[in-house]
């Protein structure tokens, strides 16, 4: 039977199965191949906090979503066009999210009485008509995989583990992607286990052939390469990009990189990633706790390193006293906070933007720091460099906010040339003549005088210091001078950051103001709304403290300002209090990012339409 090829612009696929089914791996392989064939893409894994919840149970379902396109995209997609469901629980958990006419590829072998019961299905959804309207493709994954691996000397259990590669093979066929990239990857991965390598490669090939030959698949889809700017690309998750950014900042500044960190979801990958780069002289100190994470970084900063600490919300709380010490001693430290659902342990594997107030005001005393936020997984690379640059050049702690959505999500990063990136000027004090530890330059920056420098022996600490001279001082007027110095130093950073840019319709009555990871969904929502005739302006904040200097002017140009954020209105509160502006809040705290459609509907509602609702 002849198979038709249909060209489509944009596809969202979700792989879902048990935590042990290898869905993250399958998804990331599909992603790598899709990147290399030249589509624009964005991914988001969704996995439970439990490492291995009971097999077949609803709580154990792990998913990986990939949105790829022949044009520019910003989000992992609202609703999948295709769901690969490895068992009944995966079907049940994900069915509500997918498009009405979506394709569902199911592993029918997993739909036995036990698994149906575990997924709380009273009848088999493959038989009871409840999936009417969907394009259900039933594949006997276990059986077909076993058959494909006949003759290989492996246990049934080990062979069974290869079924995700069979499924991946089907998907590669369906979307017209080459299997060679994954075949090669398997070679490196299982170099020392030839049977496992052979089995997985065979399963992948068999899955691909199955799509090609069997009559249940009638259509292949072709997603043409996207017209991305010329250059060399790699796919990065936000955490990976942040790690690469910090190492790049180390290369740019010529300072060794020191990370003090304690493992915490969803920030641990930064620690893990950086620990690989010993050839770059990177020191990753896995500390005994969050406090030691930041304190060791402060010590390393005092010694002259580019010092960072990585954490998530609960850890940021624990670091706050030490962050105050960094403010007081005016030492450069970058704190990267990968926000998650809170408070307390909250939703550790889910995303939220609710640490903004903590980052801004979470310390005791008047203790301002620079606060930055990355807007996309690839932007984590640039903002890590920027955070390091500001910290080092202004002798100041910087909090860089990302979140679980950015940390785990991925997208292509166009790799810049090293010389295209901003330089980082380091100016260690060497001259003992006229040296005073708290003497400032025109930007309120004090000298960095590191141990080992002859003649510069001096003492710093958490007690208030005499302006210029740095001895302990309890003088009332001096404390006010120093408090203002610290505040002025932060504000002065505004001279070194870009203006706030307004994109979209400058003449619109509505400005959408975003910060952090809501950038992508907002941008797509604005594009969609425009197609329906609703015109909106968009400004995105990457610099939160200090704000870009022109923010007041920008805000004054618009009648309505809307702030979508994944909290109960923290940026809205800052904008309202600082600029005395009315703000339309649009908040969501479900541990999930905004869907494009949610923001689109809100825009249309604010502009007086209904969008068919």
């Amino acid at each position: 039977m002849a198979k038709t090829v249909q060209v489509v612009d944009d596809v969202t696929v979700r792989f879902a199965g048990d935590s042990g089914d290898g869905m993250q791996l399958t998804g990331s392989q599909f992603t790598d191949t899709t990147a290399i064939v030249g589509n624009d893409l964005s991914t988001l894994p969704d996995f439970p906090a439990e490492i291995r919840a009971p097999a077949g149970s609803l709580s154990g379902v792990s998913g990986f979503q990939l949105h790829f396109s022949s044009s520019d995209i910003q989000t992992p997609g609202d609703s999948p066009d295709v769901l690969v469901a490895m068992n009944p629980a995966a079907l049940k958990v994900n069915l509500k999210d997918i498009k009405k006419n979506a394709t569902i590829i199911v592993n029918t072998n997993a739909f036995d009485a036990k698994n149906l019961r575990l997924a709380n299905y009273e009848t088999n959804p493959l038989e009871d008509g409840s999936l009417a309207g969907y394009n259900v493709i039933q594949v006997e994954l276990n059986k077909l995989t076993m058959a494909a691996l006949e003759g290989i000397d492996l246990s049934v259990k080990d062979k069974d583990k290869c079924k995700n590669f069979f499924a991946l093979g089907i998907m590669y066929w369906m979307y017209n992607r080459p299997i060679e990239i994954t075949l090669k990857w398997l070679e490196t991965k299982f170099k020392k286990k030839p049977e496992i390598l052979e089995a997985n490669q065979k399963a992948l090939q068999a899955g691909y052939n199955y799509g090609d030959t069997t009559e249940i698949f009638t259509t292949r889809y072709d997603v043409k390469p996207a017209k991305l700017p010329k250059g060399v690309y790699r796919n990065v998750s936000g955490n990976e990009a942040a790690a690469l950014g910090f190492i790049t900042a180390s290369l740019k500044s010529g300072l060794p990189l020191f990370l003090g960190s304690y493992p915490i979801t969803p920030a641990s990958e930064i620690l893990q990633e950086l620990s690989k780069y010993k050839d770059f002289g990177v020191i990753t100190f896995q500390a005994e706790d969050e406090i030691s994470g930041i304190c060791s970084a402060i010590g390393a900063s005092y010694s002259g390193s580019l010092a960072i600490t990585s954490t998530s919300g609960p850890g940021l709380s624990l670091k706050m006293e030490a962050a105050g010490l960094a403010v007081m001693t005016e030492l450069p430290v970058v704190i990267i906070d990968v926000q998650r659902g809170g408070p307390s342990t909250g939703l550790p594997t889910k995303t939220e933007q609710a640490d903004l107030m903590q980052a801004m005001y979470g310390r005791h005393g008047e203790a301002p720091v620079v606060v930055l936020a990355a807007q996309s997984p690839a932007d984590c690379f640039y903002m890590s460099i920027e955070a390091a640059k500001i910290a080092l050049e202004h002798m100041i702690p910087v909090i860089l906010l990302t979140d679980g959505y950015l940390a785990f999500g991925s997208e292509p990063l166009k790799i810049p040339k090293l010389e295209e990136l901003p330089g980082i000027k380091i100016n260690f004090r060497k001259d003992p003549e006229g040296f005073h530890p708290y003497q400032r330059d025109e930007n309120f920056v004090r000298p960095w005088a590191i141990p080992g420098t002859p003649g510069l022996e001096h003492r710093i600490g958490g007690l208030e210091k005499k302006d210029v001279f740095g001895n302990i001082s309890y003088e009332p007027a001096n404390h006010e001078i120093m408090t203002n110095n610290r505040k002025n130093k932060v504000e002065k950073v505004a001279d070194f950051i870009p203006d706030l840019v307004v994109e979209g319709e400058q003449e619109s009555e509505l400005l959408i103001l975003t910060w952090g990871s809501t950038y992508g969904a907002t941008k797509e929502a604005i594009r969609n709304a425009k197609l329906k005739g609703y015109k909106t302006a968009h400004a995105h904040l990457k610099y939160i403290n200090p704000f870009p200097k022109n923010i007041g002017t920008v805000l004054n140009k618009f009648k309505k300002i809307m702030i979508p954020e994944l909290n109960l209105g923290q940026m809205a509160m800052i904008i309202k209090s600082r600029f005395l502006k009315d703000v339309i809040q649009f908040n969501k705290v479900q541990g999930q990012p905004f869907k494009v459609a949610e923001i689109e509907n809100k825009i249309i509602e604010v502009l007086g339409g209904s969008n068919g609702k």
Binding site: V232, Y233, F280, I291, G299, G304, G452, I460
Partner: protein, 346 residues
């Protein structure tokens, strides 16, 4: 005492004065901290380090004002965190000699976690812990080394908690040089400090220190001329454990039980005494020694309980870096970014 400074720091002759900063020392009159400061300043020329390569890090408490008075690099940090900050200072620049000045509350209470992990990792730091068995700076609450039943401002009916034995804690956590000294025994204290300065690895010195305001005389039995001989046993490597006014008492080891013996009773002689071996790599005897200070009737040991060689965290870390660099070559931006998973858009 003549310092052999010429050999230690070529071209520079330091004296104690070189290590005194221009800041007025502001401890209470009679505080034991003055003596500790004086002994550190006196011995600093013997450390064999240029003073710009010495860093004193402290936490919070009376003892933690110490760095301000030393003319070296100094970092007065926050309560309990000195060991963590010092770890960062040392790891970032292993050429520095990093000292921690701390107290019993700072290091064993709020800083307990950092302390045990710095010991466990055998980070090449020197910790000088001033133990006055009281919270001085907050004006007189009991500390984690206060004896059980102690009446203080926060324990008007006496404490019900057991104290830490800092020596046992340091040894079991993994410190590789463990010593105790007294603020009132300058010579002994100087010796301990100098020896700690030469140790490679985590060196811990507990200094019993008198707080004349809130816990005056806490160690009087150990420091006063009349009572000291009967209450203190000085640990010296290779020498028998003897104490008493005329060294007339000894300690012998009966299995795992220490027993006090009278050398003048005609039944015992010096050859029955336990001979101290500070290089003993089995911690058992060190623990028995450490328990003396908790046993009624037993003299409190001062001196080096144990010291031994073990790979340091900072040493191994830099070896690992060197090894990987040798294998892979030094990192470059190209190697970092242009991995096998890149693709080109034309």
């Amino acid at each position: 005492m003549e310092n052999k400074i010429d050999e230690l720091v070529p071209g520079i002759k330091y004296s104690a004065k070189d290590f005194a900063s221009d800041v007025d020392v502001k401890w209470c009159p009679g505080c034991g901290d003055y003596s500790i400061l004086a002994q550190v300043q006196r011995t600093s020329p013997d450390f064999g380090e240029r003073k710009e390569n010495i860093v004193w890090v402290s936490g919070i408490g009376c003892s933690s004002r110490f760095p301000y008075y030393m003319n070296t690099f100094g970092f007065h940090s926050i309560h309990g965190r000195a060991a963590a900050i010092a770890t960062g200072v040392k790891l970032a620049n292993p050429k520095l000699q990093v000292w921690v000045a701390t107290g019993d509350g700072d290091m064993l209470s709020i800083g307990g976690n950092h302390f045990i992990h710095a010991c466990r990792k055998n980070i090449n730091l020197k910790i000088l812990m001033f133990n006055n068995r009281i919270y001085g700076l907050t004006k007189g609450q009991y500390s984690p080394t206060s004896e059980k039943g102690k009446v203080t401002k926060s324990s008007p009916f006496g404490t019900v908690d057991w104290p830490f034995n800092a020596i046992k804690l340091a040894d079991s956590a993994g410190a590789t040089f463990i010593a105790r000294s007294l603020d009132r025994d300058p010579k002994h204290l100087q010796e301990m400090i100098t020896r700690a300065s030469k140790h490679i690895g985590m060196a811990f010195i507990e200094v019993y220190q008198n707080c004349p305001i809130f816990n005056d005389g806490a160690f009087a039995a150990l420091t006063e001329k009349d009572s000291k001989p009967d209450n203190v046993v000085i640990l010296e490597h290779g020498k028998p454990l003897l104490f008493g006014a005329n060294k007339n008492k000894g300690i012998k080891l009966d299995g795992l039980n220490p027993v006090i013996i009278d050398l003048n009773d005609g039944k015992h002689s010096i050859s029955d005494c336990w001979v101290h071996d500070e290089f003993d790599d089995n911690p058992t005897r060190g623990f028995i020694l450490a328990r003396f200070s908790d046993l009624p009737g037993f003299p409190t040991p001062i001196g080096v309980f144990r010291q031994f060689k073990k790979a340091t965290y900072d040493g191994d870390y830099y070896s690992q870096i060197a090894h990987v660099k040798k294998q892979k070559g030094s990192g470059t931006y190209e190697k970092l970014m242009f991995t096998s998973n890149t693709w080109e858009v034309n």
